[in-house]
Symmetry: C2
Subunit: 210 residues, 2 copies
């Protein structure tokens, strides 16, 4: 069957994100009941409890079993691996509760890192002092060192990230819930909210699953 | 009177840090009782409640009143300003609950930023997921992109900071409670736990207070 006709699912800690025929559908974990069925669903899952349950449902196929893990490292999140599988050359920023950044050159993972997501880092500032309760300035000019508090905090998170990411001189891919916000910082980046699903499809093609 | 013979005090949210004759003494806010006295104490204070109380004690002299604030910006912390006043050319990292980074060239503040301190950022990772509960690796090789979880988190905080700080090609000064830990990352940095007091003395000399 053609890959696009198949149902894919990216399972996180809070939701099942389905993808079929180019369309995404999010169902929160609390609202989704696993049922027996015939339709094959190809998934990745970072939620350990759900991963255990899914072993009882043979129509749910874990794409983790089809990855050449030697290219990656043991504790690397499966979502990061799928981002890397989607790209031949690039820096992949997945802006969720964490902000993961991975480098791929000629189809090979070259390392990456995990910064804090926008929401979590903002909360952390407010925990230091209520005087650090500023929203990030996505219109900041990162060519100048900041001379006001809001920009000083923005630079301390997004400026440092920006300077590292652009230093790799590779195409930049943005995905994850906060990707649209980051687009105004990474103006030349490719915004692709289905990037992980592209990686999943590439794995399925390599494994002759479609 | 010579500056070194005078008593200086840096008042934070949790402690009074005294400095006299080259020695520091820390007294926690809860353990310190303000009393009338004759000895002049030259202080800076970020604790608003204490700042208000101190107005009733004429022997406590607020150095904030002697700063040319036009060189800085209105909401900039007085502790950051004192770090800048201590240095003619350099990047000043004050590693406390927040990690402030300020640039001074030819004695002039050129901007700066506020990242998260080590403790707060570590806590923030654990709030995202218990799987991100790694201590930072201060022996990390920052010339390589990480390929393990502990280094991925370390790079996401300290690697990004390092790459920005060294890009300014200026001497690096480290101060604040976590400065000794950062010394293994910033190997060529000047570790100076009395840097803010040096800035205070410079202000006092300019103002003919000593």
């Amino acid at each position: 069957m053609e890959c696009t006709r198949l149902t894919l699912c990216d399972i996180g800690n809070t939701s099942f994100d389905f993808y079929k025929d180019g369309k995404k559908e999010k169902i929160f974990v609390a609202d989704y009941e696993l049922k027996e069925g015939d339709e094959k669903i190809f998934y990745i899952c970072v939620n350990e409890k759900i991963a255990t349950s899914l072993k009882n449902f043979p129509n749910w196929i874990n794409l983790q079993d089809f990855i050449e893990l030697t290219n990656y490292y043991e504790t690397m999140g499966i979502d990061r691996i799928m981002g890397c599988e989607a790209v031949q050359n690039g820096v992949i920023i997945d802006a969720g509760s964490a902000m993961t950044v991975d480098i791929v050159k000629d189809g090979v993972f070259c390392g990456g890192y995990i910064a804090l997501g926008l929401h979590v880092s903002h909360l952390a500032y407010t925990q230091i002092s209520p005087r650090l309760d500023y929203s990030y300035n996505f219109e900041i000019d990162l060519d100048k060192m900041p001379k006001n508090s809001r920009d000083a905090l923005t630079y301390g998170q997004l400026g440092l990230l920006y300077r590292d990411v652009v230093s790799h001189s590779l195409p930049i891919y943005l995905t994850g819930g906060d990707a649209p916000k980051l687009k105004s910082i990474f103006k030349d980046a490719i915004l692709d909210e289905a990037l992980l699903f592209k990686g999943m499809k590439n794995i399925m093609k390599k494994a002759n699953l479609c």
